[in-house]
């Protein structure tokens, strides 16, 4: 039975200056009624003695304190909704609540530096996906890529900077694309191919799909090498890696701190391989040519892993109806797979050597770093093979390589050793194992075992992969992230996941990805834990609207805000769309 996600309250907070004419005068004259909280049955985000004002709107009580606002609904259906916390800068301009004034069901809040109007609106899970997609398409999109954008002015989405890239544009865009592909497939089935919603879904799915595929061709190397991202000539080149500027058939390495360290400034590499026109239109339609395009090299396994699972779903969902696109996908997949196999299971960079983080070879697995990475990386590369065989319908070289990795190199046996090796390192390094987690690896593990789980038919191998996924649950499970839990359930259907916790995640995700943070350090109702190496976590996973906004690559119980820019950053909606539409596509949710 699918889980029914209902409409649910969602917080919408609008900020005003103190002298804004829209602010009712009565707010400044509102009497501060100190609440009587003796015997209050639940933990409160502020010290009881700190609450200085309160109002009651129907069954809902609001308590204001010097470190934020508390909403109390004694009759809330869901446990997490009984006590809610509102804090700066996400919900308030600052945390010192001076006065509260009801307006209908809504609330005006006066703080030291401004006023917030809080509206608790019922929003459906799908409606939230629409809102978030609209925000990403309008503000985050960069020629189809969807990672994040920065703002000139805090909170002002209209002040968006036109440029800005992410180190993992391909990874985040591919995930966004998968979410929209799932949406399209669901709408097509439920509403029909010609329904406006379906057509719109297809449009957005195609745009981010083409943007992702372009990264596999933009280098012009013609050897399957995938770029992390690319920039048009008028975009500033950031100083955070290795960049090549294309000119004719030759690309030249630009001067950055990294390229100077690597002593490769001015290095040249071929870039004349043709780019499918359908993909290059993403920038040529804007008036750019191939010349002057800058791409980022030193690509990691993050990009490659996301690309491969993305290939699978583009092929499955759009392949039959768009043969041209399907051919591009299949050719791209084959090109990349050939690159990996022919180069001895590495991504070969312009240096002729492996990039820093795209190594799936045994030589890497016996190094100090590779020893722990082996469990994930071996599963990644096995997944690539299965996807390639699946979408090409070919065996040959792919099967030969797959069997070689399993029979001769025992790659399938690495999977379940992940937690053992991680823990072993934590003892040696005298830290908690959670302190050594690369949170971005969580997504890679989920993508890998998701792919292996749906594509491997051999029961013995499948069970090994499932055990690999289970090994990762040691650190994944506490996050209650549907983007992780649903792939787990798909790959390991007999295992249990907590759908109620997932529902909380959907219900309590904000309807905007403006990365304004929250005030955690002053909360009175959460315990703080200092881990062995000094990192700080909280002892409870808070609902998403009470913790910092990020991609899937951060520790959700970290004490400090680990967002990518606070009120001057807006994040991609892939985080929500990928999880929600996957759940719909696989029939987990109504």
């Amino acid at each position: 039975m699918p889980y029914k996600l209902k409409d649910h309250i969602c917080r919408f907070c609008k900020m005003f200056a103190l002298d804004d004419a829209a602010v009712p005068k009565a707010l400044f004259e509102a009497e501060a009624v100190k609440p009587d909280l003796k015997g209050f049955p639940y933990p409160l985000p502020s010290k009881k003695s700190d609450y200085s004002c309160s109002v009651k709107i129907g069954n809902i009580e609001w308590f204001g304190a010097s470190n934020g606002l508390t909403r109390y609904d004694s009759e809330a259906e869901r446990y997490e909704d009984i006590v809610m916390y509102f804090s700066a800068p996400r919900d308030l301009l600052d945390n010192n609540i001076k006065a509260l004034l009801p307006e209908g069901e809504n609330l005006w809040v006066l703080t030291d530096t401004g006023v917030t109007f809080i509206e608790m609106r019922m929003v459906g899970a799908e409606e939230k996906a629409d809102i978030l997609r609209a925000e990403s398409e309008k503000y985050v999109d960069r020629r189809g890529m969807k990672s994040q954008k920065h703002l000139r002015e805090g909170r002002n989405l209209d002040s968006i900077l036109p440029y800005g890239h992410s180190d993992n544009d391909g990874c985040f865009t591919a995930t966004y694309a998968m979410g929209e592909l799932f949406r399209y497939a669901v709408y097509k089935k439920e509403k029909g191919a010609e329904h406006p919603d379906t057509l719109l879904a297809r449009k957005y799915a195609l745009r981010s799909t083409e943007a992702t595929l372009l990264l596999a061709h933009i280098t012009g190397r013609g050897d399957g090498f995938v770029a992390r991202t690319y920039l048009c000539p008028d975009e500033p080149v950031p100083d955070d890696g290795i960049f090549f500027r294309k000119n004719g058939d030759t690309a030249v390495c630009l001067e950055t701190t990294c390229s100077k360290e690597w002593d490769c400034v001015g290095a040249e590499i071929y870039c004349g391989a043709p780019i499918p026109e359908r993909l290059s239109k993403l920038y040529t339609d804007l008036g750019y040519s191939h010349d002057g395009i800058v791409y980022k090299a030193d690509t990691s396994s993050d990009e490659i892993t996301t690309h491969f699972l993305f290939f699978k779903f583009v092929h499955d969902i759009l392949g039959a109806e768009d043969p041209e696109l399907d051919k591009i996908v299949i050719d791209t997949c084959k090109g990349l797979m050939n690159h990996i196999i022919d180069n001895g299971y590495i991504l070969r960079d312009f240096t002729g050597k492996a990039t820093s983080w795209a190594k799936w070879n045994e030589e890497y697995f016996v190094t100090d770093y590779g020893y722990v990475d082996a469990c994930l990386n071996s599963s990644e590369v096995l997944m690539y093979h299965l996807v390639t065989m699946d979408i090409t319908g070919e065996k040959g070289k792919w099967l030969e390589s797959y069997e070689h990795l399993i029979n001769d190199r025992h790659y399938d046996d690495y999977a379940a050793k992940h937690f053992d090796r991680l823990f072993q390192c934590s003892i040696a390094g005298e830290f908690e194992f959670t302190e050594d987690i690369m949170y971005g690896d969580h997504m890679l593990a989920c993508l890998s075992y998701f792919g292996l789980g749906i594509l491997e038919k051999d029961p013995v191998r499948l069970e090994k992969y499932r055990n690999g996924f289970r090994s990762w649950r040691t650190s994944l499970e506490r996050e209650h992230n549907p983007g992780y839990d649903l792939p787990f359930k798909i790959a390991c259907p007999d295992d249990e996941i907590d759908f109620e916790a997932l529902a909380t995640w959907f219900y309590r995700t904000n309807a905007s990805r403006l990365a304004a943070g929250v005030s955690l350090t002053s909360r009175h109702d959460v315990a703080v834990k200092t881990l062995q190496a000094g990192n700080k976590e909280i002892s409870v996973l808070l609902p998403p609207d009470e913790r910092f906004i990020s991609k899937y690559d951060r520790n959700p119980v970290a004490l400090v805000n680990e967002d990518s820019g606070g009120i001057t950053c807006v994040e991609s909606a892939y985080v929500y769309g990928y999880a929600y539409w996957m759940g719909r596509y696989y029939g987990f949710f109504e």
Binding site: F40, Y42, V366, F423
Partner: protein, 820 residues
């Protein structure tokens, strides 16, 4: 390059076993002296030693020697291991005891040596409960050395080096000693080296070889050390070196190899040890419960009044309990004389508990407003104490140490005419036969309902008061011949055997009894030694006790009591089967006189249904085990469930069960010769571990569904940590007649302890655990600390929180953040 053999010089020290503690203390002093001398004499030699209690003896008696050891620790020549007070039995102490083992020990190590132990070390303990990885992790240890059970006793467990996981997700890198903990003499060491070399070759990792004279101390001899040093000088032996467990684990953690993992308990060795010498078991359970409760009340009182926190006194008491959890003590396999010392030490601990609890409760009670207008006028010189005040009811405050509301019968030592609660509602009571012969011969038992870690005030009119007419609350209790019932259960006794022939659970209306129940069974114990080495089942029945009498001795509104007496040769067992109003359990109060040498007395309950599964409480969790008749260790309860129905036996002092098919048996008595090692018994006038009079209680709990979902955890806890009723005076006060100080909103999260931090900061410490094996989020509200917070729990996870004066909370571990 061969994998390394780490030579671990050590001396296994039993502070009590075939000798009393005074001799054990001397043995420690001599061994430590000897080890220091060897370190000075032999370059490179390293000595490893566990157990804080030994260091403390040396510090107190020979401070100069202790100072030398401190210096050697700093140089890495002397390596303290095991951040616990002793090497305890690892099946019977409860989770809080393991917390205290770590707390007092690691803080001592930290204070004296500037570091805590990273390696747990129980090389002789007789079995390993499944939660040890969590207890070790929470005590700051990520690695572990153990030996028992050995390969012959458990072939499924991994050998050598392996990961050991507990259900909460904790894990320790564990080394299972393959040979022995005290190899000594050239031949023994030579053979052990061969074994280790072979294993190092096969496993791909290094091995540890433990050498040195042990049990009664001693340590590595000059001959051992010189042999090893000569060997190390020979070509081809570069892989052998003096080392420590810490170095062994550090070195192997940086190796690139994989080891197996194990996610279960590690049993069985010495299956007789869960039942031998019932005295020490009873003392342990009682002391654990009493200290935890008393410290909670001390913490409450210290928070609301000027009563000082008794942190040091409780520490002193706990250290005695921790010491007496040493495996050869708690397992009941030491000499008879040692148990005189145990009784004294545990008495000391419990006296502290009693005194501190009484002080605290009276202090708290003093704040409760029990004043009744006009009451002072009525006290005459003939009515000097309140219990004889016939014009007013006497206030009795009932304290509940558990973190959830408890409804249970409580007793006061005077008869009553009427009992009301603090809202003026009449409550059920019964005047019952007291233990005294003078005065009225009657006590009052009434049904009290008390909030979470809180108190409730009841008003008792003396039996001689004129209370006039009042409407008694309805009671569901009924007695029809030998069939008794309340609203939850109906129990029928068999007139011929004195056993229980039927239990109907009114929740589902079905019969739960499928065979012999509560007919005490006598089992042969002539072959096993005290430990029951190499014997895993006690299944040779030699008889059943015969019914001597059965009668209904009480039949009232609050409870019905059926008394049976069974006899066997010159022994008897009296049982009072007590069914109280609103109780889901049938409580059984036992008194036995046992005079049967080399026998075991077991109490069976037999369930209906098919495909039985047995479930047992273990420290900090429960565990499922096969119903194969093997003797199993458990804490306060064991359970057999089949076809959606279950019968649990709850105990106030026993630790040993077996389950054969649908029959679960609690081992009441195991009467062995003291310290009878491998049954080598020259003719003598032996003394026996469990002969004579003893008193204990158990209860039977029929329930539907799986044991873990039946509420058994709460019921068993309330059976062991009972409500306490304190008669108080009339006085004005600032606190209400009913109050709760700490509450938790989820049934499967329980408060373990509430204390003050050992660092004297005044911060409060509360320890909480998940009891049902499920991930949970809960709210913990501590109004008394001006604190309240949310927390997630993994299955069976224990969390320790430290709360400062402002009510801000940090999560720490058993060490309370003191060693950070």
């Amino acid at each position: 390059m061969k994998n390394k053999i780490h030579l671990i010089g050590n001396a296994h020290l039993d502070p009590i076993w075939l000798w009393r503690w005074q001799e054990g203390c001397g043995e420690v002093l001599q061994t430590f002296r000897s080890a220091v001398d060897r370190i000075k004499e032999y370059k490179g030699f390293i000595f490893t030693c566990s157990s804080v209690s030994y260091y403390k003896w040396v510090e107190e008696i020979d401070p100069e020697l202790f100072e030398e050891i401190r210096k050697l620790v700093k140089k890495g020549k002397w390596v303290p291991v095991n951040g616990w007070w002793v090497q305890p039995d690892c099946n019977m102490p409860d989770a809080e005891s393991f917390a205290r083992q770590a707390l007092y020990s690691q803080l001592y190590y930290h204070e004296k040596f500037g570091t805590i132990c990273k390696t747990g070390y129980n090389v002789d303990s007789f079995g390993q409960n499944a939660m040890l990885p969590q207890f070790l992790n929470q005590g700051g240890m990520k690695c572990y050395v153990m030996m028992r059970p050995d390969k012959n006793e458990n072939k499924e467990m991994p050998e050598n080096l392996f990961w050991w996981d507990s259900p909460d997700g904790s894990r320790v890198l564990t080394y299972r000693i393959p040979t022995g903990y005290g190899e000594s003499g050239i031949n023994a060491i030579k053979n052990a080296i061969s074994v280790m070399e072979e294993r190092a070759e096969n496993t791909g990792h290094g091995m540890m070889l433990f050498y040195g004279v042990g049990n009664h101390g001693g340590g590595p001899s000059k001959g051992d050390i010189e042999y090893l040093m000569n060997l190390m000088d020979e070509e081809g032996y570069e892989h052998i070196e003096f080392s420590s467990p810490d170095d062994f684990f550090n070195e192997n953690c940086t190796g690139l190899f994989d080891v197996p993992s194990w996610g279960d308990e590690m049993q069985h060795h010495a299956s007789g040890c869960y039942s031998a010498t019932g005295l020490v078991k009873q003392l342990n359970r009682k002391a654990e419960n009493w200290l935890v409760s008393a410290e909670k009340w001390n913490s409450v009182a210290a928070r609301i009044s000027n009563l000082p926190a008794a942190t040091k006194a409780f520490g002193d008491a706990w250290k005695e309990v921790c010491f007496n959890q040493f495996h050869d003590i708690l397992c009941g396999c030491s000499i008879m004389e040692a148990y005189d010392d145990v009784r004294d030490a545990m008495g000391y601990a419990m006296t502290i508990a009693a005194k501190e609890e009484n002080k605290a409760m009276l202090k708290i009670a003093g704040f409760v407003n029990t004043w009744l207008d006009g009451v002072s006028d009525t006290v005459s010189c003939n009515e000097r104490h309140h219990c004889r005040n016939l014009n007013f009811p006497r206030p009795v405050i009932v304290f509940n140490p558990l973190s959830y509301e408890v409804e249970n019968a409580v007793r006061t030592y005077h008869p009553s005419a009427r009992v009301t609660d603090c809202d003026g509602n009449d409550v059920l009571f019964q005047n019952v036969r007291s233990s005294r012969s003078n005065d009225s011969h009657l006590d009052t038992e009434f049904i009290a309902k008390v909030p979470a870690l809180g108190y409730a005030t009841y008003w008792l009119w003396h039996a001689d008061s004129d209370v006039g007419e009042f409407e008694k609350p309805a009671s569901s209790l009924k007695c029809d011949g030998l069939t008794i019932e309340n609203k939850f259960i109906k129990v029928a006794f068999d007139e011929a055997t004195g056993g229980i022939s039927s239990i109907i659970n009114k929740e589902d209306g079905s019969e739960y009894i499928g065979g012999e129940t509560c007919i005490p069974t006598v089992v042969d114990n002539s072959k096993p030694d005290t430990w029951a080495h190499n014997i895993f089942k006690f299944d040779t029945t030699i008889g059943t006790m015969k019914l001597d009498s059965i009668e209904v001795v009480e039949n009232g509104d609050a409870r019905i009591v059926v008394r049976t007496k069974h006899v066997y040769n010159g022994s008897y067992l009296k049982q009072d089967f007590i069914l109280a109003e609103n109780s889901k359990v049938l409580r059984v109060k036992c008194k036995s006189l046992w005079q049967e040498d080399l026998t075991i007395l077991k109490m069976p309950v037999t369930l209906t249904g098919n495909n039985p599964i047995s479930t047992y409480e273990i420290p900090g969790a429960y565990i499922k085990r096969p119903c194969n008749g093997e003797e199993e260790p458990a804490l306060t309860w064991g359970d057999v469930t089949a076809d959606g129905k279950g019968l649990a036996i709850i105990s106030d002092s026993k630790y040993s069960y077996d389950c054969i098919g649908n029959t679960l048996r609690l081992t009441l008595i195991r009467n062995c010769i003291f310290a009878d090692h491998y049954s080598d018994r020259p003719a003598a006038d032996f003394n026996y571990t469990d002969e004579g009079i003893s008193r204990y209680e158990y209860a039977i709990y029929p329930h539907s569904g799986e044991a873990e979902n039946s509420g058994i955890q709460r019921i068993a806890a309330a059976f062991n940590a009972r409500l306490v009723a304190i008669p108080v005076g009339y006085h004005k006060g600032t606190m209400p007649l009913r109050e709760s100080f700490i509450s938790i909103d989820k049934e499967n999260v329980a408060l373990m302890s509430f204390k003050f931090c050992e660092d004297g900061s005044g911060d409060a410490v509360i320890r909480v655990r998940e009891t049902n094996g499920k991930r949970t989020k809960c709210a913990i509200v501590c109004d008394i600390l001006d604190a309240g917070f949310w927390s997630d729990f993994r299955p069976f996870e224990i969390k320790t929180f430290r709360i400062n004066a402002e009510g801000y909370v940090t999560e720490t571990n058993f060490l309370e953040g003191v060693t950070d």
